[in-house]
Symmetry: C2
Subunit: 312 residues, 2 copies
């Protein structure tokens, strides 16, 4: 079934201990849709400038991603400059040139209106809410956000949260949004704002899913912990969270029903796609990964976390 994703398509200039790249294809919607494309059909709503070439578009179309919703505007594409050092856990933003993104008004093509799964990538919650309102009949809505919106635009964010099935968020953001240090109580407070479940990302430690009592059919109210793969080499962490989201939501959309077992498996696929994403700069690895590699790595995630997981 089809996922509609709204978010940024961007150019990234990135420096990590492994090297430096300039103006490579990036953006939350890009990483998300590439990761999700291995599981289901994906349609993208975004805006790009005149510097977005047919070669850039081919990165999407080669993976079967529908780019009709990517609007061309006069000017330059959104450009992010960032650097990582030390343990690579946090990006230092050196520059954000919104360019054509500053005046972005998401328009949903007629042909996209039958999408059953909606993903609101990390953008202005006002835009997230506007897209959500135009898709009243979707089966499931999943959203992402970041500390910037929580710190300075929390009321706008709360409008989006009210109507969300799954919120993807990291530890620090969960605590900030809830005003509560204990992660279990913080998760409960955030779910009381709307989301039926929360996927709290812990970076190199994996993720924990929390479920409210309004959760998916038959879902246990207990949390679930999914591992991340310990990696000896992280070349570029940019887009790891969006790739996690793409693997997670892509797998969910590929299944007939969102059961607790599907939710758990989806968290593992999220980790799998995130682990591939960081192996190369930008989208390079997500363009070339194979279904066989994805399956092999899924089994590896199972093996490193399950008591009976020996073998392989």
């Amino acid at each position: 079934m089809s996922i509609l994703v709204v978010g940024s398509v961007a150019f990234d200039s990135i420096e990590t201990p492994h090297g430096k790249v300039d103006h490579i294809l990036g953006g939350a919607a890009t990483h998300f849709s590439l990761a999700a494309s291995y599981f289901t059909d994906v349609r993208v709503i975004a805006v790009v400038g005149e510097d977005f070439t047919p070669e850039h578009e081919a990165v999407f179309t080669k993976r079967g991603i529908d780019t009709d919703g990517i609007e061309r505007a006069p000017g330059l594409t959104f450009h992010w400059t960032g650097a990582y050092s030390g343990s690579l856990n946090e990006a230092q933003t050196l520059g954000t040139d919104l360019n054509v993104f500053a005046a972005f008004e998401p328009k949903i093509p007629e042909a996209y209106l039958d999408s059953e799964y909606l993903f609101l990538a990390n953008i202005d919650p006002v835009l997230q809410a506007r897209v959500r309102a135009q898709m009243p009949d979707v089966k499931l809505v999943c959203g992402d956000t970041m500390n910037y919106w929580i710190a300075d635009h929390v009321e706008k964010l709360k409008v989006v949260l009210r109507d969300l099935d799954v919120l993807l968020i990291n530890d620090g953001e969960t605590r900030m949004l809830a005003g509560e240090n204990n992660i279990v109580r913080a998760a409960e407070k955030v779910m009381a704002m709307g989301p039926r479940s929360l996927v709290v990302k812990h970076g190199e430690y994996g993720a924990t899913a929390f479920f409210s009592d309004r959760s998916f059919s038959g879902a246990a109210s207990r949390p679930f912990r999914a591992p991340a793969l310990p990696l000896a080499e992280v070349v570029d962490p940019t887009g790891a969270g969006d790739s996690f989201a793409g693997g997670f939501y892509g797998y969910i959309a590929s299944q007939p029903e969102l059961t607790p077992a599907v939710f758990r498996t989806a968290l593992f696929y999220g980790g799998v796609m995130g682990s591939f994403a960081v192996e190369r700069f930008g989208t390079e690895r997500l363009q070339s990964v194979t279904s066989e590699e994805i399956n092999t790595r899924f089994n590896l995630f199972r093996e490193i976390s399950h008591l009976d997981g020996l073998g392989g």
Copy 2:
């Protein structure tokens, strides 16, 4: 089979957001031996002062722990004062009165020499090495340490590491000891110093075990990730790491052989005992937990981390 543990028996004065306690029974050897006592026989080498009463000793003996190796010295017992705030992840040490511990010379009673499992709790590596040398024929040696010894006494610590089967250590300590930010490469560097395997503790995110190629019979060289239980209430984190160690090593000592499956299960029991320890101040919870509660929580750890773990 019997574990011999050498470490501190202490009095702790602790303040957390849940309250304040004064001079309650604590110390690494105390938390470790209580947690391990639910799995196997434990013998303690430590020193206490004249303020250590029969009531304090009864905490050990009620759990069947052999206290013949706890030496009585003139003066006061080691006293630690600490506080926790915020997310309770790190203790702030407010005072360390070594008292009788300052002149501690571990003496191993004759009857302890047939112990098959040795645990070197976090004390001066010089003392750890001295005890290790007196127990040349033990089946397995597991040790703990802390940032203080890594920062200021690393050469003495390296003597202990050379002869260790399992080192328990946290993320930051692993990185500090290896001089390497990436945790996988850091673990490899630390294992090259001696330990055949490493259990890296991540606090609220669980633990990761790494195995060298000199590892236990048939052990895969791949790491293993064990979860921690997301807890809505942490009353006092003091001793959580030692309780983890006690559950982990106690389970290993209760099994005929250290197989990869036993190692994995032991990591889960470590998490289980750590999760009980923090529910009350000091050793209160570890004095009263039942085998049934331990089994129930073990199943909960499995449920929250295994793809097929639904139920219960």
